[in-house]
Amino acid sequence: MTKEPTFEESLKLLEERVDSLSRGDLPLDQALAVFEEGLALYRRCHAILADTEQRVTKLIAAADGLAEEPFSLE
């Protein structure tokens, strides 16, 4: 299973797409492919930002060392 790129990685990939397009030395079909990829990365980053629910945990001492349990603000 390939690991989903993180937001940071996706953003970096997106910026690479922009850079490689801006160099302007790609054949047209490749440029279009790069553009499509960039668009997909943009949508992905956008979705991550919009949809992610923050996970907050609390470190606790457990029998076998440390554990994290959900932490909520009351």
């Binding site: 937001f7 790609l26 930002l49 923050q54």
Partner: protein, 412 residues
């Protein structure tokens, strides 16, 4: 009834003239100034209500359990003090008592001050500070940059209270992508330094950056953050540490050692997290650039194709048209000349044939004045011997026929 009313005191005969307020204030000041017990004195008390005037003078109140006295420290003395007066500090000050007639207040004009009591703490603070500074632990060069996109953010603080709440709320709003790991610790009291060190150590292995925070409190409350062991733990922490201890004016040893010192816990949360709004703007900018670049690439290609087309059309096409037109003209001319020649030839042939036809035509013969004798049935009588006298014949002239009878016969 009237004599039960309170009668205001008023100077009667023999009562000396009343003092003016200014006179009274001057009298108090002279009394105070001339009393050797009130000059060059030492006073110990707790500093509160420290206010720095823009001119550099410092005003504060020195108090104990049951009394307080206003103090003024002039700039030149403040600069020589060697430390900043802070609320809650236990100090011994030296100075003179004086009276400020304008405000009617008695003040202590402080010439010098040294920490006392907590001053034991204070001395320890200074010792630790000097020691760690000498070791280079406060060196700006060893401060680490915070990660731009932390995946996990550690928060070492009390698990109850406003601080953890503020930090988590701000992180949730700004950067929900990151996970937050709260490592609860005691943040005051004798057990606090060890508890903080432990929490820092266990959370550092699990996160990209740590916020070490505590809300505002008294000097004693914050004292654990001046602990040398804790300071060293912060300095050697595996990941960058942002400190946010007390209020902005509180500066602890941990603040000096931390990679970044935040003025408040909320500010610390903002420092460690990129802002989702800014990120969205950054994303939109990237997508705008993406669209611009592809448009530009397409328009360059389009211009190129158009250029090719233009290079082909005006010159190339014109040349081709011209060539074709020339060929066409050439063909037309040859066709025409061929045609002319052909017609002439035919006409020529036709003329000669016609002429031959004319020569052979009997009509031509008639036109030359000859006549043709025919029988009734139209057969030409070519020989005289073919007729006998009395035969009806027709004679054809060029302008018509007449009927005749033969008179005689050809001699046999």
């Amino acid at each position: 009834m009237m004599d039960t009313l309170a009668v205001p005191w008023e100077p009667g005969p023999g009562v000396p003239q009343a003092l003016t307020v200014s006179q009274l204030a001057r009298l108090i000041r002279e009394t105070v100034r001339s009393n050797p017990l009130l000059g060059r004195i030492l006073v110990r008390g707790e500093v509160t209500n420290v206010q720095s005037a823009p001119a550099g003078h410092v005003f504060f109140t020195l108090k104990d359990a049951t009394a307080q006295v206003s103090c003024t420290l002039f700039r030149e003395d403040a600069e020589l003090l060697g430390f900043d007066l802070e609320d809650g500090m236990d100090v011994v000050v030296s100075g003179d008592v004086d009276v400020f007639p304008r405000k009617g207040t008695v003040q202590l004009l402080v010439r010098a001050a040294t920490p006392a009591g907590v001053g034991a703490f204070w001395a320890a603070y200074q010792r630790t500070r000097k020691k760690l500074a000498a070791e280079g632990l406060f060196d700006p060069a060893r401060k680490r940059l915070l990660p731009s996109f932390p995946r996990r953010i550690g928060v070492v603080t009390s698990e109850v209270g406003a601080v953890v709440h503020d930090i988590v709320t701000i992180l949730r709003r700004r950067y929900p992508i990151a996970q937050v790991v709260v490592a609860p610790a005691l943040v005051q009291g004798p057990g606090a330094p060890a508890s903080l060190c432990r929490a820092l150590a266990v959370v550092a292995d699990r996160v990209d950056v740590v916020i070490l925070a505590r809300g505002g409190g008294s000097l004693e409350d914050l004292w654990c953050f001046n602990d040398e062991v804790l300071a060293r733990a912060v300095a050697t922490c595996r990941v960058p540490v942002v400190s946010a201890i007390g209020h902005e004016t509180d500066v602890t040893i941990v603040d000096f050692v931390a990679d970044v010192r935040a003025p408040t816990p909320s500010a610390a949360a903002e420092l460690v997290s990129p802002d989702a709004v800014e990120l969205t703007a950054q994303l939109n900018e990237a997508s705008r650039l993406l669209a611009r670049e592809i448009r530009e690439i397409l328009s360059v290609r389009r211009a190129w194709v158009k250029g090719l087309g233009e290079r082909m059309s005006p010159r190339g096409l014109r040349r081709s048209v011209d060539t074709n037109r020339a060929r066409l003209e050439e063909m037309r001319q040859s066709l025409a000349s061929l045609g002319v020649r052909g017609v002439a030839r035919h006409r020529e042939r036709l003329g000669s044939t016609g002429r031959r036809l004319d020569l052979l035509s009997p009509l031509a013969t008639l036109q030359r004045g000859y006549a043709i004798a025919e029988r009734e049935d139209g057969h030409v009588v070519a020989h005289a011997a073919d007729v006998v006298a009395g035969d009806p014949l027709a004679v054809r002239f060029q302008d018509g026929r007449i009927h005749v009878y033969v008179n005689d016969e050809a001699p046999k």
